[in-house]
C-alpha cells in the first residue's frame, strides 16, 4: 500500500510526511524465483545431472565387472561396430515408425468420432474415460494378456479357424515383430486419441457449417479445414507415443520371445551384467534419437503458435 504522494492538504493539515513509498516486501521481490526454485532444482537433480553423468560414464573404461574413470572411446567403437547393437538401433527406429503409423491410422478416426460426431459433452467425456479403462490394470498384465490371444492355439487363431477363414493356425502372430507391434499399438493408441479429440472438440462447428454452405463436400472439409486444425493434437499425440515407444523394453521382452531387441532391451541386459559404460552409450544414443524425433515433430507443427 502506498500513501498519496502528491502532498495533498486535508483542511489545514499537511500529509506530505506520508509520501515515502513503502519498500516492496521480500516475497514480492523474490516471489518469482521462489516459485521457480523447486521445479528447477528437481529438473537439475533428476534430469540434467543424470544425463550429463550418463554422457560422462559412456566414456569410462569398462572392466569385466566394474568401470573406472579413465576416458576412452572403446564403448562407442564397440557399439557401432557390432551388428547386434546397430541392428537394435535400426529395429527400434523401425518399430517406432510402424507403431506411430498405426496409432495414427487407428487413433485419428477414433478421435474424429469422439470429438466431432458425439455432440453431447458428457457422452464425450465418458467415452474418453472408457479409452483409459485398460490403464486400470498393470502394464505387464496388459502386455501378457496378448499371449493367450495371439498364440498358435490362441483366441485369434481359434476364431479364424472356426470361421473357416484359415485352415492352419497363423504362427507369426506371437513371438515375432508383429506381436510386439500389436501389443504396443494397443497400449499407446490412446495417447494419440486424447490430444486429437481435444483439438477436434475445440473446432467451432460454425466453421464446418460455413464450409458446407460454400459448397464444399465432406472430404474437402476434412482435408482443408478439420485436419489442418487438428495437426497440433496429432503432434502432441505423436510426441507422447514416440517417447514411450522409443524407450520401450517390456513389450518386446514379453511378446517377442527374445527375438526382437530394442535399445531399451540392450540397456536392461547391459546393466544386468554390470556393463555400465556400454549401457550409457546405448542410453546416449537412445536419448539422441528421441531428441531428433521430438525436434522434427515440433518443427513440422508450430505448437507454441497453435495451442
Amino acid at each position: 500500500m502506498r500513501a498519496p504522494s502528491d502532498g495533498t492538504t486535508l483542511g489545514s493539515v499537511s500529509v506530505t510526511s506520508a509520501t515515502v513509498p513503502a519498500r516492496p516486501r521480500w516475497t514480492e521481490r523474490y516471489g518469482t524465483w521462489l516459485l521457480l526454485a523447486p521445479g528447477t532444482l528437481w529438473m537439475l537433480l533428476f534430469l540434467a545431472v543424470p544425463m550429463l553423468m550418463m554422457v560422462y560414464v559412456s566414456f569410462w573404461t569398462q572392466k569385466t565387472f566394474s568401470i573406472e574413470p579413465r576416458l576412452t572411446l572403446q564403448s562407442w567403437i564397440n557399439f557401432f561396430s557390432s551388428s547386434t547393437y546397430v541392428g537394435a538401433l535400426v529395429t527400434t527406429v523401425e518399430i517406432w515408425a510402424i507403431v506411430l503409423f498405426f496409432t495414427f491410422i487407428l487413433g485419428y478416426p477414433t478421435a474424429l468420432y469422439i470429438g466431432l460426431f458425439i455432440r453431447n459433452k458428457t457422452t464425450q467425456t465418458i467415452v474418453l474415460v472408457l479409452c483409459v479403462v485398460p490403464f486400470w490394470t498393470s502394464f505387464l498384465i496388459r502386455v501378457l494378456a496378448w499371449r493367450p490371444m495371439l498364440g498358435k492355439e490362441g483366441a485369434v487363431n481359434l476364431l479364424l479357424l472356426k470361421l473357416g477363414l484359415i485352415s492352419h493356425p497363423i504362427d507369426v502372430l506371437l513371438f515375432t515383430k508383429v506381436s510386439v507391434i500389436i501389443g504396443m499399438v494397443q497400449i499407446y493408441v490412446v495417447f494419440m486419441v486424447g490430444p486429437v479429440a481435444v483439438m477436434l472438440g475445440r473446432i467451432d462447428r460454425s466453421l464446418i457449417e460455413a464450409a458446407r454452405d460454400l459448397g464444399a463436400g465432406s472430404w474437402r472439409i476434412f482435408r482443408t479445414i478439420i485436419f489442418p486444425l487438428t495437426l497440433p493434437g496429432v503432434a502432441v499425440g505423436a510426441i507422447f507415443v514416440s517417447v514411450m515407444v522409443l524407450g520401450e523394453f517390456a513389450t518386446s521382452a514379453a511378446l517377442s520371445g527374445q527375438k526382437v531387441n530394442l535399445l531399451g532391451n540392450i540397456i536392461v541386459t547391459e546393466v544386468g551384467s554390470l556393463k555400465w559404460a556400454f549401457a550409457a552409450v546405448a542410453g546416449v544414443v537412445l536419448t539422441a534419437v528421441m531428441g531428433i524425433v521430438i525436434a522434427g515433430l515440433l518443427r513440422a507443427v508450430n505448437l507454441r503458435e497453435e495451442l
Binding site: D204, S206, L207, E209, A210, A211, R212, D213, L214, G215, A216, G217, R220, T224, I225, P228, L229
Partner: protein
C-alpha cells in the same frame, strides 16, 4: 423472390417457429427484428439449410428449396462469429468457395485471383489478401466473412447479427458499407438483429418477430410510427404504455395507450388537458443528457417509469425540479390504443 410458407419448427416442447409465412421481394434488403428466442436465427438457419423445418415450404423464384441441401440453395450465410478459417489467409478464406465447391468449382488460379481480388476490393480489403485471420480487427473480419460468402454469387445473403460483434463506431461504418454492397450486387439481403435502430436503419422493410410469429411487416417508417401491436411498440423501445385507467379523466375503458417518448410535452402540475389532448400526472425523477437529446424520467404513483424525450435542436431543456409533480401531455390522436391490457407491465 423468396417465399416462406407456413414454416414450423419445434425443439422438444418449445416452439421456435409457429406457422410462419413471409415473402421477400427480389433484391430487397429485409431486416428481421426480434428479441432473443423469437425464432429469428432459427428462421435464418432454415432458409440456409442448416436446419430442417418440421412443416412448411420455402420457394426461391418459384422453385422449392426445402429438399435441397445447404450448398445447392444459392443461399449465402454470414454467421454471427464470422466463422473464418483461422489457419488460412484472407485470400484463401475468400477463395475457399470458388475453389472447393462441389458444383462447378473454379480451377484456373488466374480466375480465382481475379474474382477474389474484385470481391476484396468491393468490401474494402483490397490490400489485405495475404494477412492471417488473427491479424485482423473485428471490422475487417466481418468484411472477410462477407466477401467469402458473396464471392460465390449467392442469390440470397443471410446475415446473422452482422454488427453485433462490432463497436459503435465501426457499426455505423459497416451499415453504410452493407447498404453500398447490397446496392452493387442487387441480391436479397436478410439481416437479423435484436437492435431496433439497426433494423429500422438497414431494412427496406422490417419484419418484427416474436415467439415464432410475424407481428408486423412494413417499411421502417410505418413500423416506427404505427406499430401494429403493443409488443411491436415495446420492441422499438421508444414508446410509453399506459393502461387507460392510469390516465387523468379518461373513461374507464379497457386497453393500453401507447405514446412515443418524443411526442410528450411537460407542463406544470394542474394543467387542464383540453379535448384533443390527454394528460397524466407524474413525478420528475431524473434526466439523462446525451448531446442532441435529453431524456426525462418520471414516475407514476404505481411506480411505473415514464420517459420523455426532448430533441435539443428545437427545444431548450426545461429546468425541472426533482420530486415535483408535472402534467405530461400529448395529443390524443398521436397515441395508439391496443386491445390487450394484460400485456401491459
Amino acid at each position: 423472390m423468396l417465399e416462406i410458407r407456413g414454416v414450423r419448427k419445434s425443439y422438444g416442447a418449445k416452439r421456435a417457429l409457429d406457422d410462419l409465412s413471409l415473402s421477400v421481394r427480389p433484391s430487397e434488403y429485409l431486416s428481421l427484428l426480434g428479441p432473443s428466442g423469437s425464432g429469428k436465427s432459427t428462421l435464418l438457419r432454415i432458409i440456409a439449410g442448416f436446419e430442417r423445418a418440421d412443416a412448411g415450404d420455402i420457394y426461391l423464384d418459384g422453385k422449392p428449396l426445402t429438399a435441397k441441401p445447404a450448398h445447392e440453395r444459392g443461399v449465402g450465410f454470414v454467421s454471427q462469429g464470422f466463422a473464418l478459417f483461422p489457419h488460412l489467409t484472407v485470400f484463401d478464406n475468400v477463395a475457399f468457395g470458388l475453389r472447393f465447391r462441389q458444383r462447378n468449382p473454379v480451377g484456373a488460379p488466374a480466375e480465382v485471383k481475379r474474382r477474389v481480388g474484385e470481391m476484396l476490393e468491393l468490401v474494402g480489403l483490397g490490400e489485405l489478401g495475404g494477412r492471417q485471420i488473427a491479424q485482423l480487427s473485428g471490422g475487417q473480419k466481418q468484411r472477410v466473412a462477407l466477401a467469402r460468402t458473396l464471392v460465390v454469387d449467392p442469390q440470397i445473403c443471410l446475415l446473422d447479427e452482422p454488427l453485433g460483434a462490432l463497436d459503435a463506431n465501426l457499426r455505423r461504418r459497416m451499415t453504410i458499407e452493407l447498404r453500398r454492397i447490397h446496392q452493387r450486387l442487387g441480391i436479397i439481403f436478410i439481416h437479423v438483429t435484436g437492435n431496433e435502430m439497426e433494423a429500422l436503419a438497414m431494412g427496406e422493410r422490417v419484419v418484427v418477430l416474436d415467439q415464432g410469429r410475424v407481428l408486423q411487416t412494413d417499411v421502417p417508417d410505418t413500423v416506427y410510427n404505427r406499430p401494429a401491436s403493443l409488443q411491436v411498440a415495446r420492441f422499438l423501445n421508444r414508446y410509453n404504455s399506459f393502461e387507460h385507467r392510469e390516465l387523468d379523466g379518461a373513461p374507464a375503458a379497457e386497453g393500453v395507450c401507447c405514446i412515443r417518448r418524443d411526442l410528450i410535452t411537460v407542463n406544470e402540475a394542474g394543467y387542464r388537458a383540453a379535448a384533443p389532448e390527454t394528460a397524466i400526472t407524474a413525478t420528475f425523477v431524473a434526466s439523462e443528457y446525451s448531446g442532441s437529446i435529453i431524456v426525462y424520467f418520471f414516475s407514476l404513483p404505481s411506480g411505473k417509469v415514464v420517459e420523455v424525450e426532448y430533441h435539443l435542436s428545437h427545444k431548450r431543456p426545461e429546468p425541472l425540479r426533482e420530486g415535483s409533480s408535472y402534467a405530461l401531455v400529448w395529443r390524443t390522436a398521436q397515441a395508439m390504443v391496443f386491445g390487450s391490457p394484460k400485456i401491459a407491465a
